[in-house]
Amino acid sequence: MSPVAKKSLNPMPLKERIKVPRQLMPEQAAEERAHNFTEVNLGYSPELAQQEAVRCLECAKPTCTDNCPVGVKVKEFVELIVVGDFLGAAAKIREDNVLPAVTGRVCPQEDHCEGKCLLSKKVKPLGIGYLERFVADYEKRMGIRFVPGAQPTGKRVAVVGSGPSGLTVAGDLVQKGHKVRVFEALHELGGVLVYGIPEFRLPKQIIREQLDYMREMGVEFETDVVVGRTVTIDELIEEEGYDAVYIGTGAGLPQFMNIPGEHFNGVYSANEFLTRINLMKAYKFPTYDEPMLDLRGRDVAVIGGGNTALDAIRSALRLGARKAYVIYRRSDAEMPARAEEVHHARQEGIDFQMLTAPVEFLSDGKGWLTAARCVRMELGEPDASGRRRPVPKQGSEFDLPLSVAIIAIGTSANPIVQSTTPGLGTNKRGYIQASEETQRTTRKAVFAGGDIVTGSATVILAMGAGRRAAKSIHEYLTTGEW
C-alpha cells in the first residue's frame, strides 16, 4: 500500500500532494435551495477537478478500487484528469461503471472508495465522487459518445427492472455483443433513480441521457410490463426465447411501523410520497393531474434515518413545509444516510429529533393526522445488526404536532416475481436466493441481484451485483454450463 510515483503523469511531488486541500464542491446556498428542486451540488470546473486530482497518492495497491462494488479504476481515471484528458477519464470509468453521472452523485463514497483512501489517514480523502461526476458531466457536455462495436453473439437476455442493477447488467452485456431487452413495470425507465431520488440530488435529465446512451449501445426497453403479471419469467424463456433472465426488481413493499393511526390521512410511506413528487410530478398539480397534500405552512416529519428519509423530508421542505423533522430512534453515529446528505439537510434547516420514536399517530377524530406521540430513546446493548439497540426512556412521551408523517423505515420483499416463478428459491424474508459470487438463482438461466436479493441497500451495491451478474451471465451464455 505504499505510495509510488513510478511513471506517474502527475507532476506534483508526493509530499506536496498531501498539502493541497480537498477542493470544495460548489453548491447552491442553503437558504436558496431549500425552496427549489434544482441540484444542490453544482459540480467542479475543469480547474477545480485538476486541482483535486493532483492530490491522488497513486497507491500501488489502490484500496479505493478494491472497495468499489463495481471496481472503478480510480487511480487511472484520476491520472487522466491530471493531464487534462477528461474524455479518456470518462471512457476509463465506463469500462467498469455504466452510470458514472449517477454514482458520482448518489454513491456513499465514504463507505467505499473515499472511506479507504490513504489520504484520509492524515487529511481529507480524495474527492473521488466529485471527480467521477465531473468527467461524466464533461463527457455529456462534449456530446461525445463511446459506442463499442462488439460482435453479435446471437444470445438474448431479458432484464427485469430498469433500476441501477438492471441497467448495469444491460450495459455490460450489450458491450459483450448480447442482445438485451429491459422490462420496466412503470411508465418511466430508471427505477429508484426516477421515482425515488429527487431532482435536487439527481436531475432526471441525467437519467434520460444515460438511457439514451444505452439505447445507442443497442439496449432495448419496454415499459408498462410487470414481470410476473404481464408476462412470467418462464414465458420469457420458453415462449419469447430469452437465453437468460436477470431479475433486478428492487426492494418492493414499504414497511410500516404497525402502530395505531398509521392509516390516517396524512401518513405516507416514503415510497408513495417520493413517487408522487418525482415520478408523477404532483408538486406541479394542477398542471400535472396526480395530487398530493399541500405542504405549505404545514409541519411534516419523516420517520427513519436513511437516504430515502432525507430525500423525503428535504422534498417536503422544498414544497413549503413550515417545520421539517427527521425522527430517528438511534443517534447520529448509526444514521445510515450519506454523510453529505445529512450535512446538506442540517444546512437547510431540517430539525433532527434523534433518539426518538413515534408510538402512535393522533387524529382530529375525522381521520386526519394531527400529531405523532413520540418517546425518547437511549442506546442499550448491541442488537443483531451490531448497532446499539434503542430502548424507550420511561415517562419521556410527548406529542409532536404534524400534518404529514412520512414513514421511511425500509422495505420488505415484493412477492410478485417469486410467487409466479416455480422453483425460484427465496430466503425466509422472501428475498430471492442468489449466489453472492455469480448472482445465480436456484433456477437455471435465471439470475438476480440488487435489493430483491439483499433487501434495501444502495445504488452502487445494486450496480455491483449487476456487474457480477453480467460477468456470470456472459460465462453461462458462452459455455452453456450452469
Binding site: 410490463v225 392509516h263 398539480f285 400535472y288
Partner: protein, 300 residues
Amino acid sequence: MFRIVDAQFLAPGIKRFVIEAPRIARKQKPGQFVILRIYEEGERIPVTIENSDPDRGTVNIVVQSAGKTTQLLNLLNTGDQILDVVGPLGKPSQIANYGTVVVVGGGVGTAMAYPTAAALKSAGNRVISIVGARNKELVILEPEMRAVSDSLMITTDDGSYADKGFVTDKLRQLIQNGTRIDLVVAVGPIVMMKAIAEMTRKENIHTVVSLNPIMIDGTGMCGGCRVLVDGKSQFACVDGPEFDAHQVDFAVLVQRNSMYRDAEQRSLAEFQRVSAVESSARELEHACAAVPASRRGEQR
C-alpha cells in the same frame, strides 16, 4: 401507446373501450385490473377489466366518468391512443366449485363482477346474480350477466326498471327464502359492499369484496393503496384487490379515498371550465363558418 379499437357507451357516463394490449389480453384473469395514464401529465388510475380476447390481443375496460381523468378518458374514441396501460394487476379471483354463489354487481362494479361470475359458472357453480343501478339507463351488461347466471335479479333505486330497491333487498330475500349460499362476491360502491358484508356476517356466509382504493404504481412499491383488513395493513394491488368482506375496515377505506377530494374537485372544475371555453369557442367558430364572409363583415 395502446390503441383503442372500439369505444361504446354502455350507459350514460359509462364507456367500454376495446384496447390493443396483447400481453395483457393473454394473461388477464377474472378479478384483475389495469392501471392507465392517458397523457404525459396524466395521473395513473386503476380501471376495471370487463373481458379480454387473447386471440385478437385486445382487452375490454369499462370506465365511469367521475373525475377529470375518467371524463377525459370517456372523450376518447376508436383510433385514439392511451399512453400507458399496465396489467393485469392484482391477484385473480379464487375460482372453484363452491356450490351456490351469489354475485352482486353495483353500478359500474358489474363490469368487474362479470368475468368472475362467468368463471364461477364455468367452474360448475350455480350462479345467482344480482345487478343494481340507480335507474334503468345505468343498468349495464344485462345480457352478458344473464348468459353466465342461473338466475339474474335486477334492481333500480328509483324503480324505473325491474324491481325498485337495492341489491341488498334481493340478497336478504334469498337468505330469508332459505337459499343455501356458499359464497357471495360483491363488487360496487363501498356503501353497498359494506351493507352486504354486514348482512352476510350475521348469516356466516363467506363473502368476498373487490376494493378500489387510491393507487399509483399497482405493483406494491408505493403502499398508497393500503387497506385495513383484520386490523392489519394490506396492499390492495398485491394482496388484493379481493378481500374477505367480514375483515375489511370500510370506514378507513372511505376515509382514505377522501384524501384528495379537494384536489380532485379543483382538477375537475378546472377541466370543465376549460372544456366549456373550448366548446363554446368551437361553436362560435362553427357558427362563424356557417355565415358567408360578406355577411360576417356586415355584422361587424
